[in-house]
């Protein structure tokens, strides 16, 4: 029952309400792919970027396709809208590198090429970030080449 309620709040972009419910689903089903990839986005949107990044990295390490096979239309994925909000509304971040990190995470749901570019930029600010290095390796292994993002 929790999963359906979590899905409801996620679809309605009520991320604050979605977080505890998705966390409960994952506590009961630790490998639940759909709940985990939604929770990544919900964490980011509720200001818990570190938690989001940790969960995202774990998912990518296990199976990048959980994220990269997302069909934004079929799943009503909010990432395209959230990316647009960052790029066009000038949403600010305390650390500019976090802007790249959020764009990288969101882009990996819908455009891997963009995701790799943003992760590479993030890595330039934090060259010792082992997670970013591992994510880039995993995404690259998933068969994607670097490309210049269309959006910038």
């Amino acid at each position: 029952m929790s999963e359906m309620i979590g899905n409801f709040f996620f679809l309605n972009h009520s991320f604050k309400l979605a977080v505890p419910i998705l966390e409960k689903v994952i506590a009961e089903h630790p490998t639940h792919p759909k709940a985990r990839k939604k929770l990544v986005i919900a964490y980011v949107e509720t200001g818990r970027l570190r938690d989001a990044y940790a969960l995202y990295s774990d998912i990518i390490a296990e199976d990048p396709s959980i994220i990269t096979s997302t069909n934004p239309d079929e799943e009503d994925c909010p990432c395209p809208v959230l990316i647009e909000n960052i790029l066009e509304s000038g949403r600010t971040f305390d650390d500019p590198a976090n802007r790249c990190l959020v764009l990288a995470i969101y882009s990996s749901y819908c455009c891997l090429a963009d995701a790799l570019v943003y992760f590479t930029r993030y890595l330039q600010s934090y060259p010792n970030d082992q997670r970013a290095t591992a994510v880039i390796q995993q995404l690259t292994k998933a068969g994607v080449n670097h490309a210049i993002p269309q959006s910038e």
């Binding site: 029952m1 359906m4 409801f8």
Partner: protein, 439 residues
């Protein structure tokens, strides 16, 4: 047709209630023909779509009835919702919801069942929002005053008594009060006090303990228990026995009651709305209704005017019911002649709005979707000039009108209630009153 799934499919395809299901991702997985007709969406436009992306209602978002069902893990009954059809028209409906689970008890989705509330389709091109209030149609001064009263009393969480003749729309007023109240997201439980025997009514209202009487094989929660946190609507409350009235007085005053056969006192905060078409003062004089309960109920009283006193509303409602009957019958080109309108306006409408609605639908069918003339109207309306000349006749002839309708309908209760323009409940009450019995 040899599997249970086939049987269920056949039932869903044949019923008048709209039914749709969603999976746990809130995508529509099924929509029956009635739901497609009421919403205007075809199967290929709806299946696989997110329900919020397709079916727009005044409760989408965090007030979603199905979400509430999931959160509280209980089915909702008759929640008033306004949906926007594919063509942009709005349609007030009453919604029931339930969770779908697989054999392991895991949630697989939800089901929404809905039916038209009050039977009114609002065509935005022809009717303004001033014509209606929470699904009640009418712009007569008496109705506008009623809407104002509803808005005043709805937020107050106090008991309200709704009075009016049969067919004036007392249940619609109850729906409107709930929709405007703080309890609008809580359960809304309705009980018709006239259709249950005294012992059954008591058990239904307050519940019973296992073994309380023959057949009480398990503990049973009553309607007051189910209405906790919301509203209970006691229709035809004048029919409740003195014993039940005493228990109602206590639950209204103290919020306390016991299940039948149980000693444990339970509490409820359910708001009580009650309705009657009876003259309480007469009932009190005859010793059939408790005076203290009457005063407790009637602290706030909303009286619905009979249709004959609502002037131009007959025309407005006629137009609405024509639109509804067109959708229901498929006779999209149907219209009413001037002489038919004249008859409708001159008639005294003892069965009020319900009688008008039935008369319009009956006439459209008789006219086979063409121009409805006076000759297509029910006989009593065709003869309306004679009826309205003597206002006493309708009272004196109630029994004979009832007998004639039953005879004309070959004692079929549904048909007889249609002929009289009253509900089956009212027909049952009239038969009881005049001591008609089935043989």
């Amino acid at each position: 047709m040899n599997t249970s799934a086939d049987h269920i499919q056949a039932v869903l395809e044949s019923i008048n209630e709209g039914v749709f299901t969603v999976d746990k991702n809130w995508k529509i997985t099924y929509m029956n023909p009635a739901a497609r007709e009421m919403t205007g969406f075809q199967m290929n436009e709806s299946i696989g779509k997110f329900c919020q992306g397709l079916l727009h209602t005044n409760r989408c978002g965090e007030n979603c009835p199905l979400l509430q069902t999931l959160q509280e893990d209980r089915a909702l009954r008759d929640m008033p919702v306004t949906i926007t059809r594919r063509d942009g028209h709005t349609l007030p409906v009453l919604v029931n919801t339930a969770v779908l689970k697989d054999s392991d008890g895991d949630t697989t989705g939800g089901v929404v069942v809905f039916r038209v509330a009050g039977g009114h389709y609002l065509n935005a091109d022809e009717f303004s929002t001033e014509d209606q209030f929470e699904g009640i149609y009418g712009r007569d001064r008496s109705m506008v005053e009623l809407y104002e009263m509803i808005q005043q009393v709805a937020p107050l969480s106090i008991t309200v008594l709704i009075t009016g003749e049969s067919g004036t729309g007392k249940e619609l007023v109850a729906n409107a009060i709930v929709a405007q109240s703080e309890q609008r997201n809580g359960p809304f439980v309705k009980v018709n006090c006239s259709v249950l025997s005294e012992s059954l009514l008591e058990s239904e209202l307050f519940g019973h303990a296992k073994g309380a009487f023959t057949g009480a094989i398990a503990d049973h929660a009553g309607r007051f228990e189910r209405a906790h946190g919301g509203t209970i609507f006691l229709d035809e409350i004048g029919e409740a026995s003195l014993n039940v009235q005493l228990k109602l007085l206590r639950v209204i005053q103290e919020g306390e009651y016991e299940r039948v056969g149980d000693t444990q006192t339970r509490k409820t905060d359910a708001r009580v709305l009650a309705a009657t078409n009876q003259d309480f003062k007469k009932l009190i004089k005859e010793g059939r209704f408790r005076e203290d309960l009457y005063y407790r109920l009637s602290a706030v009283r909303l009286e619905l005017p009979p249709l004959r006193n609502r002037g131009g509303d007959i025309l407005l409602l006629t137009q609405l019911f024509i639109e509804k009957a067109k959708l229901k019958t498929g006779y999209s080109e149907a219209s009413l002649s001037d002489d038919a309108y004249d008859r409708l306006i001159n008639y005294s409408w003892p069965g009020n709005v319900r009688e008008l609605e039935n008369a319009i639908e009956y006439s459209l069918i008789r006219a086979r979707g063409g121009l409805v003339t006076a000759g297509h109207l029910p006989r009593e309306i065709q003869d309306s000039t004679l009826i309205t000349k003597s206002s006493d006749v309708s009272n004196l002839s109630e029994e004979s009108r009832l007998l004639k309708a039953l005879q004309d309908a070959n004692w079929n209760r549904s048909r007889a209630s249609q002929l009289l323009g009253v509900s089956r409940t009212t027909l049952w009450r009239l038969m009881k009153k005049h001591q008609f019995k089935w043989t």
